[in-house]
């Protein structure tokens, strides 16, 4: 006779009508497959934990976003934000869809070049560009977004030395009604810093000021802030034309669109509180169309959105290492993935689904990672069905920032696979090994031997 499916016995106190920090049950069905591939099969072949990228979700999300803008505005260009996820296979899916590259360091710049992105389709942002980086960007005719006066003056010196005329934009920071204001990057609009920089660039006549850039914040929960930013940049472009008869060919509104993840402490779930691509597009495109441009003069709208394009395409598959009961009665589940590879658990309440069948009984508990560090908490309070050692889970929407901000700390970084449009699995980043880590260390000769 076949034995019955076992589930850990649980008893749960009922608190009818009372609020609690664990919230209501959110998991009703197991997530046994990702894009048609069994989670257990993935873990069996590539190990646990394992990052899984869905190519289908990337392309679909990208197309949804692009369509929201192109339906409203005639000239739109996306630029893939490398820092959000610069695994080459991920970048190339975006490049195949038509994205340029948006980079913020020499390392990222060279990654984009090696991926085959033409230099004139690389946007170079950020406060840290070395002389070598600037020379490389000038050589490849990239769009250099100037962040501060020191960079502007250095770029003037370099252009004189190499006798080339780079294409540049300035990053502008501004008050869009969202606080804290991101005024650490770029030149301020309200205090006139932006105009000072523009005057210097145009009067110096060594570079072509072709664009204006801003990036007003991250995980922006109000689309209206973008409308304010777009209006202010359009106004600046209009007055540059009026004053210098100089046409600004593009306006780059940066990134910062919120994904559907739920921020820690948020009352509403992310899929309710985050604006849609249509909300952002309506705000931005209306502001540009209402600015003082004729139809023929509309500038190219560049968008560098990263998080909202890749978050949903990434999943983290993991395994339960152990269960224990805390002194206050809460159930604690220890997973084989920690904050070292799931950095975003510091600011998101990640949705976590069991990858095998379960009953409708749940327990309130906390989910920990495997690190021997008190900070290694994946979810402070979560209601989950009983799971046992060896059970698998899927953490949803982890595609943004985790595969760039992850750390080799206590444990090493795991494999990353991509499931293609035909549900075929490709290894796109190998897990780290001890040899890989040791390879970049050096041991002074006198420390090679010891007796204990």
């Amino acid at each position: 006779m076949e034995k019955l499916r076992y589930e850990r016995p649980v008893v749960k106190k009922l608190n009818t009508g009372m609020m609690n920090k664990f919230g209501t049950r959110t998991e009703y069905n197991p997530v046994t497959h990702i894009d048609g591939v069994a989670v257990k099969e993935l873990i069996g072949k590539y190990g646990s934990p394992l990052f899984v990228i869905s190519e289908r979700t990337i392309r679909q999300t990208y197309q949804d976003c692009k369509r929201a803008f192109t339906n409203r505005y005639p000239r739109v260009q996306m630029a893939w934000s490398y820092k959000t996820n610069y695994i080459n296979a991920v970048c190339n899916v975006f490049h195949q869809e038509g994205s340029w590259a948006e980079v913020v360091s020499g390392f990222e710049y060279n990654k984009a070049l090696q991926n085959g992105v033409p230099g004139n389709k690389i946007i170079f942002n950020g406060p840290d560009k070395t002389d070598k980086d600037l020379l490389l960007a000038i050589e490849h005719n990239s769009l250099i977004h100037i962040d501060h006066l020191d960079e502007l003056y250095r770029l003037m010196e370099i252009t004189k030395e190499v006798n080339k005329r780079p294409r540049v934009a300035i990053r502008v920071n501004m008050d869009t009604g969202v606080y804290p204001m991101w005024d650490r990057f770029g030149f301020n609009y309200e205090t006139g810093q932006a105009w000072d920089a523009i005057n210097k660039i145009i009067l110096n006549d060594q570079m072509d000021l072709v664009g204006l850039h801003c990036h007003i914040g991250t995980f922006m929960l109000t689309a209206n802030a973008y409308a304010i930013a777009a209006s202010k940049l359009a106004d600046l472009a209009y007055h540059i034309h009026a004053k210098f008869n100089k046409k600004i060919t593009y306006i780059d509104l940066g990134g910062g669109f919120a994904s559907k993840n739920t921020l820690r402490g948020s009352y509403l779930q992310g899929n309710v509180s985050s604006p849609s691509f249509d909300d952002y597009a309506e705000a931005i495109c209306s502001a540009l169309l209402n600015a003082e441009y004729s139809k023929q003069e509309l500038p190219l709208l560049i968008l560098e959105t990263g998080r909202a394009l890749i978050d949903d395409a990434g999943s983290l598959c993991g395994t339960v290492l152990a269960n224990k009961r805390l002194s206050d009665g809460r159930r604690a589940t220890i997973m084989d993935f920690g904050v070292n590879i799931l950095f975003t658990s510091f600011w998101y309440e990640h949705k976590l689904s069991p990858a095998q069948e379960f009953s409708h009984y749940t327990e309130d508990g906390v989910v920990y990672g495997p690190l021997c560090m008190n900070i290694d908490v994946i979810r402070e309070s979560i209601t989950l069905p009983p799971m046992k050692k060896g059970d698998n889970v899927v953490v949803h929407s982890v595609g943004a920032y985790n595969m760039t901000q992850w750390m080799q700390f206590i444990a090493m970084r795991p494999n990353v696979v991509m499931i293609d449009m035909d549900s075929k699995v490709h290894l796109i980043r190998n897990k780290e090994t001890l040899e890989y880590i040791n390879n970049i260390e050096e041991m002074p000769g006198y420390l090679k031997e010891f007796k204990i």
């Binding site: 034995k3 019955l4 499916r5 076992y6 589930e7 850990r8 016995p9 649980v10 008893v11 749960k12 106190k13 009922l14 009818t16 269960n323 009961r325 009665g329 009953s359 009984y361 009983p386 046992k388 050692k389």
Partner: protein
């Protein structure tokens, strides 16, 4: 360990403690264990009963039974 005499348990796994006024719910296997405890079965008999019918190994059930017993006592559903 035995279940307190005044504890009311419904067929659906709803548990009521009239002394404290607290109510609880348990899953089918928890319900089954509580019934076995009510019949004054000891730990070994409960283990054999569960292992014979459910797909679980001995060490997993022992860990879970230990945790469940502690919960029952802390919830004042059971006593030594």
């Amino acid at each position: 360990m035995k279940i307190k005499k005044n504890i009311a348990i419904s067929e659906s796994g709803f548990i009521f403690n009239p002394t404290t006024g607290d109510s609880f719910s348990t899953n089918p296997i928890g319900f089954e264990i509580i019934h076995l405890l009510r019949e004054e079965k000891d730990k070994e008999a409960i283990k054999q009963s569960i292992l014979s019918r459910y797909a679980v190994d001995e060490s997993t059930f022992e860990k879970d039974f230990y945790d469940f017993s502690t919960l029952l006592q802390n919830s004042q559903i059971a006593e030594d």
